[in-house]
Structure formats: structure tokens, C-alpha cells
């Protein structure tokens, strides 16, 4: 069982994440925490100084964080994107597809169940942030 998962090779950021408002007020902050109601597009002008974005999932059924993640990746953000909070093993596949590359779940996750979940689907119907080609692209070379 694990409570911290990371799919990156670089060193983790070590400073605590601050709120979006605080981050935008402090020119030297490098880690920011996005809550479900935050407009993540406010980060886009200052993306070059962001090292870590934590996206909070207070309840796993609240899916706003999936859009926040995709918007950041679409804007070109390459740094660490961490899902934190009520993150369950059955949600991590889609989170990976939306661009999350690290996870800090409230409750530990069974690595075997997760490994199966991440390997189970070899094909996808949509392009997303994980670089997988959708089946339309595979069908037509």
C-alpha cells in the first residue's frame, strides 16, 4: 500500500504549496494548490515560475480537477501536477490521462490493483494529455 505516487524522474519540489491567490501575490513562490472552484487559467501568465501544482480533490466525485489539469497541460505546463485528497485507485487512470503525474491520496492505495488498472486499457477513444493515439488515428495510420 502506498500513499505517494510519482511518475516523474526529476526531484520533487520541497516547498509547501500556497493558495492560488497567495501564489499570484508572491513573486518567489513555486508551488501552488488549486481548489475545485479556482480558475486555473489565472496561472497561465506565470506558468514559467511554477514547479508544482497540487490539485485538490476534497471529494472524489467532484470532477473539476480533471478540467484544471487538462487546461494546464494544454497551456504547455510541463512541471509536476499532483492530485491530492480523496483520490482513489479507480480514478487514477483518467487522472493520468488528464496529465496528472503524481498523487498524494488521503488513504493508501493498493499498488497491485493500481498496476492492473493502468495496464488494462490498451486503447483509448480520445486524445488527451498522455500522448496516447486515439483508435481513430490507429485505424487510419
Amino acid at each position: 500500500m502506498v500513499d505517494n505516487l510519482r511518475f516523474r524522474d526529476d526531484d520533487p519540489a520541497d516547498e509547501p504549496a500556497v493558495t492560488l491567490d497567495a501564489f499570484l501575490d508572491q513573486a518567489n513562490a513555486a508551488s501552488v494548490r488549486i481548489e475545485p472552484g479556482d480558475d486555473v487559467r489565472r496561472l497561465i501568465p506565470v506558468l514559467d515560475r511554477v514547479r508544482l501544482v497540487e490539485v485538490d480533490f476534497p471529494r472524489f466525485r467532484d470532477g473539476r480537477g480533471y478540467s484544471s489539469a487538462r487546461i494546464l497541460r494544454e497551456a504547455g505546463y510541463k512541471g509536476e501536477l499532483k492530485a491530492v485528497g480523496d483520490v482513489l485507485v479507480d480514478q487514477i487512470l483518467f487522472m493520468r490521462r488528464c496529465g496528472f503525474d503524481s498523487f498524494a491520496p488521503d488513504a493508501p492505495i493498493d499498488e497491485e490493483v493500481l498496476a492492473r488498472a493502468l495496464e488494462r486499457y490498451r486503447h483509448v477513444y480520445q486524445p488527451a494529455e498522455d500522448g496516447l493515439k486515439p483508435v481513430w488515428a490507429l485505424r487510419h495510420g
Partner: protein, 544 residues
Amino acid sequence: MYRYDKYDQAIVDARVDEFRDQARRRLAGELTEDQFKPLRLKNGLYLQLHAYMLRVAIPYGTFNGRQMRKLAHIARTYDRGYGHFTTRQNIQYNWIKLEEAADILAELATVEMHAIQTSGESIRNISSDQYAGAAAEELADPRPWAELIRQATTFHPEFSYLPRKFKIALTASPTDRAAIRLHDIGLRLVRNEAGEDGFEVYVGGGMGRTPFVAPLIRPFLPADQLFSYVEAVLRVWNRYGRRDNIHKARIKILVHDLGAEEFTRQVEAEWQEILPLAEDFPHAELARIATFFPAPPYETGLSDEIDLSDPDFALWVGQNVHAHKAPGYAIANISLKPLHGIPGDVSAEQMDLIADLAERLSFDEIRATHAQNLVLPHVRKADLYQLWRALDEAGLATANLDLVSDIIACPGLDYCSLANARSIPVAQKIAERFADLDRQRGLGELKIKISGCINACGHHHAGHIGILGVDRKGEENYQLLLGGSGAEDASLARIIGPGFSEDGVVDAVEKAIDTYTSLRSEGERFLDTYRRVGVEPFKAAIYG
């Protein structure tokens, strides 16, 4: 019809494996019911009053004999020998065991079927025109588009934890048989003056406790930009739709709260963000899918004459058979509303028979309709008599399509854990009251729709006559609504006054209908008369 390739099959097989694992973890106590609930719902598995209910997707309502036989097999093996066709062209089984659910999904996967996203806060099965590919007035067969949308919305990683469910309906016809303006997104395929295909986009329709007819937010969306635009709609809603109150979470509330104009502005702004990155589908993919929907190999030189010397057959032809675009062919509707029956229910034996008839007489195609009936879309007129005889022997030839006894009803308190009142007995009593088919024909098109709670699965808001079951101090009570339509003249029915008992509402329906017959002008349907004269004469007759 569409056939899976290795990719589609691999995805559906993976879903069976995933659900088997999730069910195992639930049964082992590794998942709480709170954690498991959204997972099983995304696979159509509800916990109802007596047992689990499994809803199986019939994408855009099109299926074949082999699939229908599998549905019959499932009814016999895992349920009590019958299934129930729903108002979204799906089928559901009412007596399922959790331990067997994954086995059922595995059986479905062998015939290219699934239960993916048939419930839960996800993008649901897309619905469409049951006469697709057969109706003369359609611009094109909408099903290649529907299949594209099915694929694009299956396991969408961003839109799988939405504020609430999300339903898309599509038509390519000026006649709306898919109730597109009562869906979260309604799409109508249209062609502009330059001869290019596009979509009218309606967003924010729906029924439930707060019904709305969807406004048109884009009169012409170039067809090849459909997905990026739909994605923009979904993203605006996913980010800004309400999540604090389940009853305010549907996209219709956001559209209403912002106003259609401001909502449209936000969608267009989001679309401009997405567009530079958008990988809309390749045209080759639409062309590939379209090859699965060729016109059937119709015989030519067939006569359009039908021998109507058998009077019962003639009545069935007059009511349940619709014009087909190919000479010598017809569209045959199979009513699932026999007297004393349960609307939408079919036995396993009837399913097997319909499968045989579809294979022999309708190029192996069956359609499910949102009115809970079935269709054999391509029948030679010369074969209609033998079709009718076979259906009649099996109790499937009730000649009541669109008549007063062709009632839409939700499962209601007989099955559903959300219901406040029973729906099925009310439908049966109304059908009995008007059992005389001559009388029904004399009343013309009359759509009665019954829901057992305000969630409106029985589409009462869209009924010419709608009935809503509520709980009043522990007693089942029924409100009467008049004036709704789910068709191209979409409108919402309005409650006309205090509610009734079960028998009282049947009397009230009869009084409303008597009022119509006393006031109607030549050629007017119930709905037309109601719209012309207004509610007062009806109220006076009913509450006098």
C-alpha cells in the same frame, strides 16, 4: 449496422475485466458502498427496491437479431424471463445479482454490447431517430455521426465525474422523433446553402424537477468541428455547473442561471481556447463508419399494393406501419403496449421471435424507440401480412401506435427506489378505460406519459397529457399536466390543478379527452385543440 473492430472489442472486454475486479473488491469489503456506487452506476447497475437493476446500452437504438437473442438469453438466465425497454432506447433487467453482473457483461461483450455509462454522472448512451436510414424526409442517416459520438464520449477522461448525468440526442430529420430539445445536448444535422453539413446545437433541455426546452445556441456548427465544440460545452459545465445541490446540477440549470446568451458566450470562448489544439476526428473515420450503414440491398420493382382484405391486419397497417423511403418497403412498429401489459416489457420468447422476424424480414435490423416500442425498419410491403400474423400470435400486434393507450410509463414504485407512486397500474387503468380501439382511433394522436416521481423518467412534462405521481402524506397522489410535446413542436406540459387518487386521475384523463372531443375542429389533435383553446375549458370540465 456498426460492427466492432479489434479496438472496440478490446475496450469493451477491458471494461468487463475492470468491472469484475471492482465487484470483487466490493464483495471483499475493499471498497465501501459509497466508493463502489459511482463505479457500478457508470456500468448501469442500480440498487433498486428489490434487487439490482442492470441497464444495457442500445447505442442510438439500433441492434440486430443476434443481439436480441442474447438479450433474451440474459433475461432467461439471469433475470425472470423478461426485459424492459426504456425511454432512452435502452433495455433494463430488474432482478440482477451483483455476483453475476460481470458474467452478464461478458455475455454482452460477445455480441458487441455493453452497459458502459448507462447511468451515473457520465455521458449517457446517445439516442437518435428510430426511423434512421428508413424515413423519406431525413437529410442523411444520422447513425454514422451517432457512432462517432458514442466512441468520442466513451471513457472520456475529463468528463467522467461530471456534476450530473449528461444526455445527447441526435436527429437528421425535420420530424423530431428523438426529443432532441429535451436533452442536455440536442443535435440536428442540417445542410447550409453552400451544401456543407453542420449541426444545429441545442443545449440545456431536460425534464426532471426543473424542466426546460433547450435553446438553440448555435444554428450552424460545421460538422467536422462537432467534438471540439461539444467538449467546450462539457468543459464549461464541468467547471461551473453547480455541485452543491444534486437537484441544481444539470447543465440546464447553468444555462438558465447564466442565460442562453451568456452561456453561449462562455462556450464560444472556451471553444476558441480548445480549437488550436483540437484534433477533430479524421474524415476517413466518418467514412469508415458510414460503410457500416449502407442502404440495405432493397429489391426493385416491388409493388406498393398491400392486400388489406383482413380487417384486423388493415387496422394494424393503418396505425403501426409508417412510410418508407424505398418503393415497396415499409417501417413496421411493434407496440409494447398491449392491453393489461406493462409498457416496454418484453418476454424472452417474444425477444427471440422478434429476432427471427428481423433476420427474415427486415435485413436483420431492430430499433428501440424512446416511446418504449420496437421497430422493424425495412419490411417489404408484401411481407407485412406474415409479419403481422407472427406478431399477433405472440401478443405483439396491438394496433395502437401514438394512440391513447400507447403510454410511456417509468417503472415507478413497483420497482424504483426513487419513486413516490406507482406508474404501471395507472397506465394499465387508462388503457383499460379506452380499451376499445375504435374509440382510440377516433381520438387520434394522443401521447400520455406517466412518471412516478419528479425525476420524470416517464417524460410527463412532454406528454400531451402528463401524469406525475407524488407522495401526499403517505398516499399516492397524481397530478395532471396538459400541453406538452417532445417532438419538433416541443413544449412543456403544465399542472392544471390539485392532484387525484389513482382512480381519480383516470377519470380526470377521460374528462380531459371528452373536453377535447367536444371542442376539436376538423383534423385537430388533442394537443392542437389544447393549444388553441387553452387550459380553462379543461379545468372547468375536470374540477367543475
